[in-house]
Symmetry: C2
């Protein structure tokens, strides 16, 4: 191992997070600053470079030769370009990798999409640290994904592999802004759970959440889970349906990638194993094939919001020889 | 490249096919004999070893150090074992790799499932020879599959990756003998196309095939295509529906693996590009997302029944150093 330390940076719409990671994926130093995206790409890139210099200084005398960046996309890993970033206005076709390389002589810079970086972080140092094949689903505003096959991140020919949220799981289903119908994320993201509940109430379904929805309040997936736990039938149905669609996605992941492990991350996992993994497992056991004992284990992510930093650093380290 | 030639053997229920392949995946010698599976595993393994010796002799003075075998499964690549082979009675937990290694001193033997071997054959020397990421769907009795990511065959943790035929594409759909509902192969295999047509006729649908079905004749997918081309509405609907489900599978493959290329092989591709690729492409263009230009190209396989031999040889060659 020519260099034990690598820098990882996770570029988000609100904050830039960074860390210095050792070869085991442990964070030995961490930084976070507001992104200040309203000042445009040059400003943000300058803040990322400053953070990298700060982390280089934190390494003391130890050699640091690589910097990995996880960024919202679509991006091109091969070209190091961010095509668009939904939460960062003016970020259109920004060659972030080369801009950072120019600002940080001596560092090899690697760009990866944030969902892939987070999945790889869980793979090297989190829920997937003991497996070689895993898939991760990040359940938040949408459903993101990242997949590792035989120890390697799957990028695909167009750097869009692992877009699990846009797997079609209901052929004549709910329209998705992506242009498809029946995408997983239209049923099983945190937003979809809140939205499907509000739609059913607007359509006349009875629920303890009805008064709040009717008054124009925006309910969340946490509200839906709380109502379900308190006995609300509609909320319980919507929550269970989301878990069933996630189980269906796991069946398809099982047959396509055949991993040992499927990890769930993102805001929705605050529901905990009892309310998320247990119902997904129950539906999975009903839905899956019975002819081979090749079911993946289900687990919650363990690294929280550090996964992206750790994964970006680990992916950067892979560019080092030997 | 320490050795230019490798032996590939494709074990089928009816025939054993073998070949001597060069480093470019070209067959420089070929053999085929009836499997004679009714005489049991020992007999068949003896026939495979004889064929390998015959191909070694055909290599003349050239060094041959590896033998790849593609076999029906489920199998374990890692352990070299055939767990079961649907068309080969008595093949239960047969350690085929070690049996052949013992019979053929000096050869390293590699076992792979036949669908993976065929996909890898198309990847090294057929429709996928110019790409790094591809998926193949084999449309026959069922729907088989094999996937290559960044130049490497995807096996998964349990050697069952690429079971594309058991992707669920209709959640409350047709029951499958595997124990699931709505598997792709219950809609888009050659058998499913014939079966769905016969079922519709039995249910009262009008068709030019009705008299044959009612008399107890077993129609084929070729009969359905011929009827569709002659103007039969039911046959055209069933054929088009199969193409639509294949397009849906391609959308999901696009988002999970993101390959440049999706290849179709198997008996159904005798329909030709006009009746298979054109309708799949039309449905795909309607179904797929519109936010990224990352659609795979669709193609027919080019190696026919040689793909398994070529792929098995190429996979065996990968065990060689350098």
């Amino acid at each position: 191992m020519p260099s034990a330390l690598a820098i990882g940076i996770d570029l988000g719409g609100t904050n830039i997070k960074g860390g210095l990671c050792d070869a085991a994926g442990r964070l030995v130093a961490q930084r976070a600053v507001p992104t200040e995206g309203e000042h445009g790409p040059d400003h943000v890139i300058g803040r990322m470079a400053s953070m990298a210099r700060d982390l280089l200084a934190a390494a003391g005398g130890q050699s640091v030769r690589v910097l990995g960046v996880g960024a919202p996309g679509p991006i091109s890993h091969a070209r190091g370009v961010i095509f668009r970033a939904p939460n960062l206005p003016q970020w259109i076709n920004i060659p972030l990798r080369d801009r950072l390389s120019d600002a940080l002589p001596g560092l090899v810079v690697v760009l990866e999409n944030d969902a892939n970086a987070a999945a790889y972080g869980e793979f090297v140092a989190g829920a997937g640290a003991d497996v070689e094949d895993m898939a991760m689903l990040t359940l938040g505003t949408g459903v993101g994904g990242g997949v590792v096959v035989a120890g390697r991140l799957v990028r695909g020919a167009f750097d869009n592999a692992g877009e699990i949220g846009h797997m079609i799981i209901e052929p004549a289903g709910r329209p998705c802004p992506c242009g498809q119908r029946g995408c997983l994320e239209r049923y099983a993201s945190a937003n979809a759970i809140a939205e499907r509940t509000a739609e059913a109430i607007a359509g006349g379904a009875r629920s303890t959440l009805a008064a709040r929805v009717s008054s124009g309040e925006r309910i969340t997936s946490a509200d839906v889970l709380a109502a379900a736990r308190a006995g609300d039938t509609l909320a319980a149905q919507v929550w269970d349906s989301a878990c069933r669609y996630l189980a269906l996605a796991v069946v398809n992941i099982q047959h396509l990638y055949n991993p040992q492990l499927v990890v769930f991350s993102g805001g929705l996992i605050q529901a905990g194993a009892e309310h998320l993994l247990v119902p997904i497992q129950r539906h999975f056991d009903l839905l899956r094939w019975k002819i081979a004992p090749d079911a993946p284990r289900l687990a919650l992510a363990t690294l929280g919001t550090d996964a992206g930093v750790i994964g970006a650093a680990a992916l950067a380290r892979e560019t080092l020889p030997g």
